[in-house]
Symmetry: C2
């Protein structure tokens, strides 16, 4: 029988693959100035340190590292992660679970909780990769309004009452794609609503340590009374995305289901990768490393904001206090999709904002990443974008 | 609201976590002789070589390795993997996809293909981890009969006509848990049936390189005319399970869906781990390494078979030509669950066979692993088991 007769699972009916990852392939061309990715700067990637730590952990505990590990995590890392979650994040949680990048945290949480048709409230726009994840679990995504202080808790409460969601997915700090941060009052309110109505909050917080100004805010999880909030963390932005190490922190029952789900996802996160991150925590290498990379990222962010200040009137943009992204809104008649075509011809790339909306539209929006480009590249690339916007 | 009110997804209704992984925790006690795992021998784990290779790849290409990678795989590894699949496995396939251990291959294939209620034909007994994976996709598992030449193709054909399965899951070489190998004629027949009826075959072949006697057999995939067979390979048994590197090889359309699924499972398999396995292939280190570890494993296998020969009459067991497992059947009145309790008191462990059956039962069966124990431990542990069987 011809393979054309094969039918795929229904969960793919409305999912065709991440548009961003397709853009990534186009922009891998040499000479491209890319504001498209969410990539750390190459200078921020500690290749020598990782090599040194890999040698150290393999010399000390190589046989255990190369052997099968527990789904619950590499024991020394579980220990140092617990301390990190307690001391650095200020979270008193019953359980932590190392995962294969925080993308896996989202996948496991959906696996544990979501039946087809279940509703998940999401910021709109939001992180495309996790929107796709939720769609593959056949969740119905319900967008909540946002403003400069993050998602609107009054609208959130109205939606909770109206659609009885299973979960709320939020990126509270330096949100992807907008760069916005949920205010302290709203963090308390989200936790309170979750506890009042019995809705799980997936708190996705990978950017929180990349703060260039302003005060650090406690996680939503820190205001969680009954365990409805699951915190999802990552070392992708602070150490290396290529290592694929993230974690979940929260209630033991929820994390137990996630652990059972993980048994048949990948058995366990690679021990070597967990052991390397463990050394970062144990040797307390993170604070200095984050200080160094944040100082560079702050300059890149400021340079891009400075460039945007001279864009034509009618161009609006966010002024993030950290993270990797600035969000821009062009005058209503300008399509970021068209702009991207012209920009790519001039060797500049970004991601059109429409991809981040659950329902498309918003063609005049775009996401700009500053962390992957040098100051010179930012000047050059933004000059070209300004020119193209003026002409549009 | 109290978290007790939280309900989990339906896919967990009949899944409570891998019994084997629970046993693993019990037997982690010091002094335990374990025939329970599927672990490589510590001596087989190349910690120094992996350390050397990690240094080499990080020195040469560290920035790319620590950066985000393509879901499709780390390009040098995709290249060497292609050559390995072609030259070593003799497979002419359109696409290969590196995955996070071959457990993820099974997960992605189910994600791509399985709707709740779809039927999957499985060997019975079969590998518990993947049975759990299929159950989490709410597949209906349909057992096919097996004998010493592996699954029975006449029964398979009758079942295909009867239940119209979406997929056939088979471990053709040194099967887990039985150690049995599908004969050449049957391999051809399985491929022919899959192509005739339009059923996907998930060919799970992680043990094939661990052959201690007899002739290597071509994969089912090599007899596949229209692309219905997906080959799932692993470097867990030949290099290291802790690194979590496996692969899929097959049709581009099927692997494209798996790639889209993988985007939201873990984005990509960690680059460092792919780069290390890439060096194994590129430097042609596998043949010598496999020769060394196989020579040890063969001795361990032979020692366990020799021990079994002096077990009481009525004890039957397989005589595998490779792999990691021997399958034993005790006299009908002896329960392997009871035997395990007594054995653990005497510091010996194995896995009761009942766990590997889709429908339980078969209480008098057990799986014995020889690769994780020294010859002395095998003698000691089998002496204790013999004693307990005699008393039972």
């Amino acid at each position: 029988m011809d393979l054309q007769n094969l039918s795929y699972a229904r969960r793919f009916d409305h999912v065709s693959g991440s548009a961003i990852r397709e853009i990534f392939k186009v922009i891998a061309q040499p000479g491209m100035i890319s504001f498209a990715g969410g990539n750390p700067s190459p200078a921020a990637l500690p290749d020598q340190k990782v090599s040194e730590l890999a040698q150290a952990v393999l010399a000390e505990n190589g046989k255990a590292i190369l052997q099968y590990g527990a789904t619950e995590g590499y024991p020394p890392f579980v220990e140092s992660l617990r301390a990190y979650v307690r001391d650095h994040l200020g979270l008193d949680v019953p359980t932590v679970l190392p995962v294969t990048g925080s993308t896996q945290a989202m996948d496991l949480l959906c696996k544990a909780l979501i039946n087809p048709g279940d509703r998940i409230i999401v910021e709109n726009p939001s992180f495309l990769g996790n929107l796709q994840c939720m769609k593959l679990y056949e969740a119905e995504l319900v967008p909540v309004n946002s403003d400069d202080e993050g998602l609107d808790p009054d609208h959130l409460e109205a939606l909770i009452r109206e659609v009885r969601p299973k979960m709320i997915y939020t990126i509270p700090t330096f949100q992807n794609p907008t760069g916005r941060t949920l205010s302290l009052e709203r963090r308390k309110r989200v936790a309170q609503l979750a506890n009042q109505y019995g809705v799980v909050v997936a708190e996705d917080d990978p950017y929180r340590d990349l703060r260039y100004r302003g005060e650090s805010l406690p996680p939503i999880k820190s205001f969680d009374e009954n365990g409805w909030v699951v915190f999802m963390g990552s070392f992708s932005k602070t150490i290396s995305p290529g290592l694929r190490v993230g974690f979940m922190a929260g209630d033991s029952g929820i994390l137990r289901k996630c652990t059972v789900g993980k048994q048949s996802s990948d058995v366990h996160t690679a021990n070597l990768n967990q052991a390397i991150v463990d050394q970062y925590l144990r040797r307390n290498l993170l604070p200095d490393h984050i200080r160094t990379i944040s100082s560079d990222y702050a300059k890149q962010c400021d340079r891009m904001l400075k460039q945007l200040a001279s864009f034509p009137e009618g161009v609006k943009y966010t002024r993030p206090e950290g993270g990797l992204f600035i969000w821009a809104e062009l005058p209503g008649h300008v399509s970021a999709l068209d702009l991207l075509q012209k920009a790519i011809e001039r060797k500049v790339a970004f991601v059109p904002g429409t991809h981040f909306y659950t329902d498309g539209g918003h063609l005049n929006t775009l996401r700009l990443n500053f962390s992957g480009s040098t100051l010179e590249q930012i000047d050059q690339g933004m000059d070209i974008l300004r020119e193209l916007v003026v002409q549009a």
